[in-house]
Symmetry: C2
């Protein structure tokens, strides 16, 4: 058993050695360049006997790790040399007391090369080196300036993610910061022959920098029981979002060739999630929406949704989508309705919920006023509002977009807090360079104020439902205690 905070050195190594650097910007050099780009400020040692003495991106290339003094601590090795040489490398890493080897190289069990993979693991164990991978992109640790993707953000957040897919790890590291949710750490595990999801989950359970945990799992290996127990313990402290991939027969065989493991039965995963309070998602969109929502909002206490729209058709659509997802659209208290009717006319509108604010609702001041009134009523906590930031272009006499945005955002920001879930859905009209950009700018602004923006009410509704279900799990556990 490893010490609880042993992985601290993985995410914040005192020195890094890179095997497989070259003049071309691939392999080890790819990772070297990323560290340079991130301004990694601890020592980096590059190894390639053929380039010994040369300089790459400001770093001297060594012929072997033995040329580096043992006084200089190296906690992480990044390895991008051909697979067949990797088992032999473990000895010299061990001799220098290198703790972790991230093996980027592929060509092991995922292509049927099980023997080589076993040799690698044996050698690593013998020499006390813990392995990340092989066949993976390694770690993203923004506070330590380590990454696996170009142009990564160095802003640290509170979401930890463990992924068996390197591609997904990269997508997340890029997607998050561009949408205002940030990571504490991301780990890509690939074939996970040594360090595995269960171990990392245990670490993140206790990691004070992590408040939300996400896992992309293709196969859990022999650790099933331990993993389940750990998820159950962890969800009581912080939400655990799980995307289990490879659920279909064909998907399972694709997993085999991707990371060399066997995918389990999805029904078992659904039962597991229900038992343990894990939040199960089914694809990239659901995953990102869920962790973004967890990072922006508190867990909603009810399934009640208030739907705000200026247009009857849209509010009917959103209502159908929300009720299909299992949410409630309760009638708003009469006193609140009356307050709203002080400035929203009674003809051609509906302020019971779903709201149809009519033409007046297109006016930002009125729209903002409605939101403030809703906030004052503590029974109202989740509000979906439907706006089309691009729609005013054609009507010359109606306000122009920048004003519209600024004005509305000002009203929204005033009312937004961790308890009020404000979710925006743009009405999609035409697709052209202008509308695409307007929607992006609007969404960006909202996200900077921690207001989520969904492209469909179905997604928004399902996302709220997922958060509510987690809250419901916690309430049930609490009730059982009493």
């Amino acid at each position: 058993m490893i010490q609880e905070n042993y992985f601290d050195l993985l995410f914040n190594p005192r020195g890094i050695v890179i095997y497989g650097v070259n003049k071309a910007p691939y392999g080890g050099t790819f990772f070297l360049r990323l560290l340079v780009q991130m301004k990694f400020d601890k020592p980096i040692y590059c190894i390639n006997p053929k380039l010994k003495g040369e300089n790459l991106y400001g770093y001297t290339v060594y012929g072997s790790i033995h040329e580096i003094s043992k006084e200089d601590p190296i906690d992480l090795a990044i390895i991008a040399i051909p697979a067949r040489f990797t088992p032999g490398l473990m000895k010299e890493l061990g001799e220098h007391d290198v703790k972790f080897a991230h093996i980027f190289t592929s060509g092991y069990s995922e292509v049927g090369n099980i023997e080589l993979e076993n040799q690698l693991l044996e050698a690593a164990k013998l020499h006390n080196v813990r392995v990340i991978g092989p066949n993976c992109v390694g770690i993203y640790s923004p506070s330590s300036k380590i990454t696996f993707a170009p142009d990564s953000s160095d802003v640290a957040g509170n979401i930890a993610f463990v992924s068996q897919s390197g591609g997904l790890a990269i997508r997340l590291a890029k997607n998050g910061p561009s949408r205002e949710y940030y990571f504490s750490k991301i780990v890509s595990l690939g074939n996970q022959i040594d360090i595995n999801i269960t171990e990392l989950l245990e670490y993140f359970k206790n990691d004070s920098e992590t408040k939300i945990i996400g896992l992309y799992i293709e196969n859990i290996g022999p650790q099933g029981k331990k993993f389940l127990d750990l998820v159950r313990e962890t969800t009581l402290k912080k939400p655990v979002v799980i995307w289990k991939a490879g659920i279909s027969d064909t998907g399972k065989s694709a997993v085999m060739s991707h990371t060399g493991g066997l995918a389990g039965d999805y029904k078992i995963w659904q039962a597991m999630a229900k038992q343990s309070g894990a939040i199960l998602v089914e694809n990239f969109q659901e995953l990102t929406e869920t962790i973004q929502a967890l990072s922006f909002y508190n867990i909603p206490e009810t399934k009640d949704i208030t739907i705000l729209s200026a247009g009857g058709g849209n509010s009917i659509e959103a209502t159908d989508d929300c009720e299909r997802a299992g949410l409630n659209i309760p009638i708003i208290p009469r006193s609140v309705q009356e307050k709203i009717h002080e400035f929203i006319p009674k003809v051609n509108t509906n302020v019971q919920n779903p709201f149809d604010l009519g033409a007046v609702g297109l006016n930002n001041t009125s729209f903002g006023k409605v939101i403030r009134i809703l906030k004052e009523d503590t029974s109202i906590r989740t509000v979906i509002f439907i706006r089309s930031p691009e729609r005013f272009k054609a009507y010359e006499q109606v306000q122009k977009i920048p004003d519209f945005e600024n004005d509305l955002i000002a009203h929204l920001t005033e009312t937004q807090d961790k308890n009020l879930m404000l979710l925006s859905i743009p009405l999609l009209l035409d697709e052209n360079e202008y509308t695409v950009k307007a929607r992006y700018q609007y969404r960006k602004k909202l996200e900077q104020h921690k207001i989520m923006s969904f492209y469909s009410a179905v997604s928004a509704a399902k996302c709220v439902k997922r958060l509510w279900e987690y809250g419901n799990f916690l309430r049930k556990v609490e009730n059982t205690k009493n």
Copy 2:
């Protein structure tokens, strides 16, 4: 019973009269300006006793329709005067032999004003005027240069749409042409007190300009049985896509206040669709994707999907999504696999289906070559390919986007025909002005070549399934005959 082609005059009127023009650009003037913008080339007569003799947008304002010679045929009246005056107007329309009155005005049964609505209908019947609406935006008929939305396209397509929501009608008229699917006619019906969905469905069933029919229904009224029979007849000739809104309890009451009707039980609609071959969709996204797919592709003969990707994680995700939606991902014939392996290496790839083309797959020439080989094999008809048009930005040494696009599009276009369904899914990485624009440009280019682009594999899979189910319905009918 009206004559079969009676509605031809509605969609191609010999003259239009507009009631309720003003100096402000709203109400009747809104419609006048649209006709001017579209370059409507038949006579337009504006009526407002208070502005008699003045000139609005190049048209003389009359005090009454009696000032216009009866020799000048007027087939359509657009009415935007207060509701209480509308019943009295029917007489003078009848006297001038105006065939259709589109009543834009609201304030009838949707706000509880049932008596006024009945008066309007009685007067219209008495004077032989057929009513569109009230409480609706009327018609879009691009070939006749009539529209209800600013900056409308005047390109005529082969999709007819009937909508009880004016907002939806406008969204469709804007969305379609911006995404390369075009309409023959769109009708917004509002409260449909006279001309109703059933009648228009019958018209479009026989309309030679219409090959695809879409309906947005909040309530069908007393015509249920007739409507069902008609759908069944129509689906044998052309696909009928139905979006039934107001399915939930709250949604139903919202419908009541939107267009004054009662929404039926959704299960009845599902049974109806199954019996009649209608394609049921549940929201705007599903609606637009389905009619776009019907307009771009032939109906697929199998549920088989080939998934092309350069990355194991993505292809597993798409595989899961497709199998969840009920599609098949068959193993590609060995002979085809061998042809592909002539240039795609065997290590770290998978060419059985789902494809993981590995690093070589990022190369456009290889990617295009794979698609051409798949096309040659007649067992392969629906191909989902996953690309990220924005992802190459950071890797300076990899090809730049414009080349990437042009090169890939060239390969795709060569292979695209009505039998091969090529569906694109972009990998979403970060959201910034550059990636948003790159994705838009890429999608636009694909759509110009009749290749659909989805933002998730779930949507793509469901869309293919819907088309296949319609084909399956037709095959069953065919088999019953033999």
